[in-house]
């Protein structure tokens, strides 16, 4: 365990990557459906990215883009079909025993629906037990209580209003904060936050996002913030990864991606954000998706069937993700 934590500089292929906490390399996940005449869904297709220490990275995409699958792969809830996930240089899929426990202390997940993440028959206090029986085994009762209360206070909850209650007695925002508190008790180095605010009210959302920012500033925690909401992603993140149907189409510095979007898909996404600063002409110019089969089997760019700027090559060969300016990567033939 000590070994993993002390590795602050990782050496990969002779190249020294400073402060890289998590590296995803050629990650692919294929789901097979059907029994006899089945077909494949390449939900995540050859994805590469890095998360550095203290960085909040937004993974943005519509439903079916593979963003949740990536989160689950990192948390080892799914096994990759091919490719690697390296945490501090160690292959996550090979971790066992003590090292695996250490991994779960350092990498925690919080998910979209707080009510489906908990057992409704147990009181909220029970949520913390699992941590003390499995991970923080050396804490005595008194220390446990201090840790729980401290964690609840750090997410702006009053322990008196929460402890001893059943999940249904709390609001969605409160329960999501409790789950966040549980993840944060371990002071994880990386938090996988999968749509954690999309079920919450607009007024509460900002509070939860601010907590992520606070923990990053205080403890240098990194966050993979999985979302479909571009303004929320912009608000909290340093880096953005835009996904479409299992592939990364654009990524890089959040300001560069949002202020100078180069991939036609990113451009369309940004046009669709109902931002208060822009007026819309409701002219029906955006092409809706059609019922189409085999989109996950396309050899070329998966966005090509909807792309207004598609060329012949787009349908044949997938464009590579290339760095077009510093910290700005795009997978599109138009800019290459």
């Amino acid at each position: 365990m000590g070994e993993i934590i002390s590795l602050h500089v990782t050496c990969i292929g002779g190249e020294i990557v400073k402060n890289a906490i998590l590296q995803v390399k050629n990650l692919t996940k294929v789901f097979k459906t059907g029994f006899i005449k089945g077909f494949e869904i390449r939900a995540v297709d050859n994805v590469n990215f890095t998360i550095n220490r203290g960085e909040i990275v937004s993974l943005i995409g519509e439903s079916g883009s593979g963003k949740t699958t990536i989160g689950k792969l990192i948390l080892r809830l799914l096994t990759p079909t091919s490719g690697q996930i390296l945490f501090r240089g160690q292959d996550v899929s090979k971790l066992k025993g003590v090292n695996l426990k250490a991994y779960y202390q350092n990498v925690q997940g919080v998910f979209q629906d707080p009510f489906s993440s908990v057992n409704p028959l147990y009181k909220v206090d029970h949520l913390f037990d699992i941590i003390f029986t499995n991970l923080l085994t050396d804490a005595d009762r008194e220390r446990q209580n201090t840790l729980i209360e401290g964690a609840l206070r750090s997410v702006k909850l009053n322990p008196k209003n929460v402890l001893g209650k059943y999940p249904h007695q709390l609001s969605g925002g409160q329960l999501q904060r409790v789950l966040l508190a549980r993840a944060l008790i371990l002071r994880p180095e990386l938090l996988i936050a999968d749509e954690i605010v999309s079920m919450l009210d607009a007024s509460v959302r900002i509070g939860v996002l601010n907590l992520l920012g606070e923990f990053r500033n205080k403890y240098g925690m990194s966050v993979l913030f999985i979302t479909h909401d571009l303004s929320l992603g912009y608000y909290i993140s340093d880096k953005a990864i835009i996904m479409y149907r299992g592939t990364i189409v654009e990524m890089g510095d959040i300001k560069k991606v949002f202020h100078n979007p180069l991939h036609p898909y990113t451009q369309m996404l940004l046009q669709s954000v109902p931002d208060l600063n822009v007026k819309w002409e409701l002219k029906r110019r955006i092409k809706p998706e059609k019922e189409e089969k085999g989109i996950y089997a396309i050899d070329g760019c998966r966005y090509a069937p909807r792309c207004p700027k598609k060329m012949e090559i787009c349908q044949k060969k997938r464009p590579e993700l290339l760095e077009v300016e510093k910290d700005h990567w795009v997978a599109c033939y138009i800019v290459q």
Binding site: G61, E62, S63, G64, S171, G172, G173, Q174, D201, A202, S203, V204, R205, I206, G207, L209, N210, G213, H228, D229, L230, S231, L232, Y234, Y235, I236, I254, F258, M268, L269, L270, Q271, S272, V273, P274, D275, L276, N277, K279, W280, L282, K283, R284, I286, K287, P288, E289, K290, E291
Partner: protein, 318 residues
């Protein structure tokens, strides 16, 4: 078109009445998109559901809702059936799951037409195909099961089914909240064309918690808090010059592109919305309001502060 007066809809529970909608009044004009916004639990869904279908534990405690000269709160079930889908139709929240999964789209429509006395099956199915094309789906979708469609496509199919009999008033309850931004925009543009171009419906009530969407589509906006109306006004007034402290806090908590945590920290609304079993007296916001005064424990009146702009707040008393 629709005039709602002092409507009270409560839920009956063993502990007493939950005052989900408590004395709400507003008017929806012909040709307009009327937006309703508020946090979850503010009563916006209860309000519109009560217009379409009231079933226990929902109880009508007073007030009226006049649609086309008739008070729909006093109709019996048989009379109600006649106006549903023809005068008044709702695309409910979670409408993605509203379609019967064991029936093809065209079978669902056939049942609907039969219920309303349409004899000509051919005619209604042609209309279905035409409308499917209008929303950018292929005619084939009529022969598909709901499960074969993706979220955005299903939502468009539900819109077609809900408006097939050309209702005068269409209620859209959080219909975009499960969708990603591109599909959101597509749905919004369709709704807009339903009323302004194709003239399928006369008026739309659009419910959402996303003020950004209302800014784009609504002609007027009503803000609700804890079962009451706090502000009603033209969209540009509500967005640019919000009067009620609640509207102001709601807008301030909204992230906009270009605002980032590292530069400007947005503020959430402190506290929690009240339980509606025993709501606070007077203005229901007063325990959370930064400007609360002694008088706020008394009920505020709706005060006119501009053209078509009303606010229920003691700060604006003359």
């Amino acid at each position: 078109m629709l005039k709602v007066n002092n409507l009270k809809i409560y839920y009956k529970t063993p502990l007493g009445f939950v005052k989900a909608v408590d004395g709400v009044s507003f008017e929806v004009k012909k040709g307009e998109i009327f937006g309703i916004a508020g946090e979850s639990g503010c009563g916006k869904s209860t309000l519109v559901n009560s217009l379409v279908l009231r079933k226990p534990p929902m109880v009508h405690m007073g007030g009226e809702a006049i649609l086309d000269g008739k008070n729909i709160m006093t109709l019996n079930e048989k009379e109600y059936r006649k106006i549903r889908y023809t005068k008044l139709s709702i695309i409910p929240q979670y409408s993605l799951n509203a379609l019967n999964p064991t029936k093809r789209i065209k079978e669902i429509v056939r049942d609907l037409a039969k219920e309303h006395g349409y004899k000509d099956r051919e005619e209604i199915e042609n209309k279905l195909r035409e409308r499917l094309k209008m929303v950018g789906l292929s005619e084939q979708v009529a022969n598909m099961y709901p499960i074969e469609l993706s979220g955005g496509m299903k939502q468009r199919a539900v819109m077609v089914v809900s408006t097939l009999l050309d209702p005068k008033l269409l209620i859209a309850d959080e219909i975009t909240s499960a969708l990603d931004v591109t599909n959101q925009r597509i749905i919004l543009e369709l709704l807009y064309s339903f009323i302004k171009e194709e003239k399928i419906v006369d008026s739309i009530i659009f419910i959402t918690h996303d003020m950004g969407l209302l800014d784009k589509i609504a002609d007027r906006i009503m803000i609700m808090y804890a079962g009451k109306v706090v502000e009603i006004g033209p969209t540009e007034k509500i967005i640019n010059e919000p009067a009620h402290p609640y509207t102001q806090m709601l807008l301030n908590s909204l992230p906009r592109l270009g605002i980032s945590y590292r530069e400007i920290k947005l503020q959430e609304i402190p506290g929690e919305p009240p339980a509606l079993l025993k709501p606070p007296s007077g203005c229901r916001l007063h325990p959370r309001c930064p400007y609360a005064m002694q008088i706020c424990k008394e009920e505020p009146d709706m005060i006119k502060i501009g053209r078509n702009h009303f606010v229920a707040c003691h700060m604006y008393r003359g």
